[in-house]
Amino acid sequence: MTAEKIRLEPLMDDYSKEWWDAAAERKLLIQRSPSSGEVFFYPRWLTPGTLAERPEWVEASGRGTIYTFSVVNFNANPEFREDCPYVFAIVKLEEGPHMTTRIVDIDPDEVRCDMPVEVDFRSLGGETIFPVFRPARSGAAVEGA
């Protein structure tokens, strides 16, 4: 019996789809409070904390550093079993917010915290295009790391 590949795709609603549609066009969106200018991620319907207004989309630079990561050699969920090993990570964007992602194009043993990275857009095996991060090509230090 051949196991059918199961892929856990994001379950989008009409609003969140705007973010995923942008990712498919290779744009990484974060959000900004129109009144305070504070930027944040993940996308919210109302600005968290004040709940006073609808946030606006802004495009992130796509540069950041690895806040933390784990090389996943085992995942009990069948959706991810075939992906192992993979590098699951939290990247600190240079604008400030943290986002969840994977690190690609690097030997997992070489991944380090605070390493500069830049965004790329890839399929993880299904139809959705995900922002992922790879080592920064410029090698330039990222401010706010």
């Binding site: 090389v71 996943v72 995942n75 009990a76 380090r112 993880l124």
Partner: protein, 386 residues
């Protein structure tokens, strides 16, 4: 208004000796543990007028009707219920809520139970803590498991403070040493730091032996007013303080992974109990993973930021150390059917009553219990005393 410290007591506890129970339904375990705790207290089921449970996925309906399904199954008709299933610390939170309810006159005799087939469940139990819709759509599809969530925090702690895999491993080694004398513990053979480091690296830096066991089991606790507790023959264990706090659930919202909600739950619990850290004789700390314990030591305030590794290395967690922990072997070696806060609380009570099945300490007077739920998300602290 101040917290009514010492106004409510735990008068009965029972931990299921089961660890593997394929073919059972979790309600059978719930019935056994409630019966066991009531017998321990010397209270009849019809006297129970308050009921709280954290049945998790082990109900027919999903968990919003857990209290109804279980009250019906047990044949009790409580007039107060608490269905707040906040994961690991659920029982701790429910005890704090029960103190308020008993003091408000809403009920007098409360049973809090948990039972699950963590190992042999007939129902699917996916290993992620949020859905792949809503906020989880930006995290879960990348492949987050519970192990990986805690691995992220462990990795960052190592990076910031030079904490080593050996420090995490020593927690597991001590838990196993404590389990050796507990006849019900799932694993009792001693292990070494090398054994932990040589076990499978599941999600770096966490190894298989950095993870808790997965068992089919449960436990229950009976509380009543201190006034009524005085009627019973067993030493009542008084709730001196309790506190709960909410952290993040998505890991991308935890901008400092070395700081957890335990800071706030412990601050409130200590303040309400009116005691200092030096007065704690024994700690029962949630040990879903070794890193959960390490982070708790710092965030509960027993040591400063980054100091837990050295504290562990110096043997402070041993029964002879300054802060003996998880004296029954904990979730790492004895029992973890999910929501281990129930069992951690039971072990704290047994210690204070001088009847731990594991390593009984010499006459402890004050125990701290800390529970951590989901991905370092929910947190609850209890301070119990005799």
């Amino acid at each position: 208004m101040t917290f009514p410290s010492g106004s409510v007591a735990i008068v009965g506890v029972y931990e299921s000796p089961r660890r593997r129970a394929p073919g059972m339904h979790p309600f059978y375990i719930q019935a056994e543990v409630v019966a066991g705790a009531l017998k321990d207290a010397g209270i009849e089921p019809h006297e129970v007028d308050g009921f709280a449970t954290a049945a998790g996925l082990a109900t027919e309906s999903a968990w919003q009707f857990a209290t109804a399904e279980l009250a019906e199954y047990l044949g009790i008709t409580p007039k107060w219920m608490d269905n707040s299933d906040v994961g690991g610390p659920a029982t701790l939170s429910q005890i704090t809520h029960a103190v308020a309810a008993i003091n408000a006159g809403l009920c007098e005799t409360v049973v809090i139970s948990y039972g699950a087939l963590g190992r042999s469940s007939l129902l699917p139990m996916p290993d992620y803590n949020s859905g792949h819709d809503g906020p989880g759509q930006w995290e879960v599809p990348y492949g987050l498991s519970t192990i990986t969530a805690y691995a992220l925090a462990a990795q960052r702690h190592m990076h910031e403070f030079g904490t080593k895999p050996e420090h995490f491993a020593q927690i597991s080694v001590q838990a196993r040493a404590n389990a050796a004398s507990n006849p019900d513990a799932m694993y009792r053979d001693p292990i070494t730091v090398d054994d932990v480091l040589n076990s499978a690296l599941l999600s770096s830096p966490l190894h298989k032996f950095d993870c808790c066991v997965v068992s089919d089991s449960g436990g229950a606790i009976v509380l009543t007013s201190a006034k009524r507790a005085a009627q019973f023959t067993k030493q009542p264990v008084y709730v001196l303080g309790g506190g709960e706090a909410i952290g993040q659930i998505q890991m991308n919202q935890m901008h400092d992974m070395t700081k957890t909600a335990a800071q706030r739950s412990a601050r409130d619990a200590f303040e309400r109990a009116g005691i200092t850290h030096d007065e704690v004789d024994v700690a029962q700390l949630y040990d879903s993973f070794t890193v959960t314990v390490l982070l708790a030591l710092e965030n509960l305030g027993f040591v400063g930021p980054g100091e837990a590794g050295a504290f562990i290395e110096d043997g402070n967690l041993a029964p002879t150390g300054s802060l003996p922990f998880n004296t029954d072997g904990g979730g790492l070696s004895s029992n973890h059917p999910g929501r281990r806060g129930t069992l951690a609380t039971i072990e704290a009570v047994r210690q204070l009553q001088g009847r731990s099945p594991g390593v009984q300490l010499d006459n402890p007077k004050i125990a701290l219990v800390n529970g951590t739920g989901a991905n370092l998300s929910t947190n609850s602290t209890l301070i119990l005393g005799v």
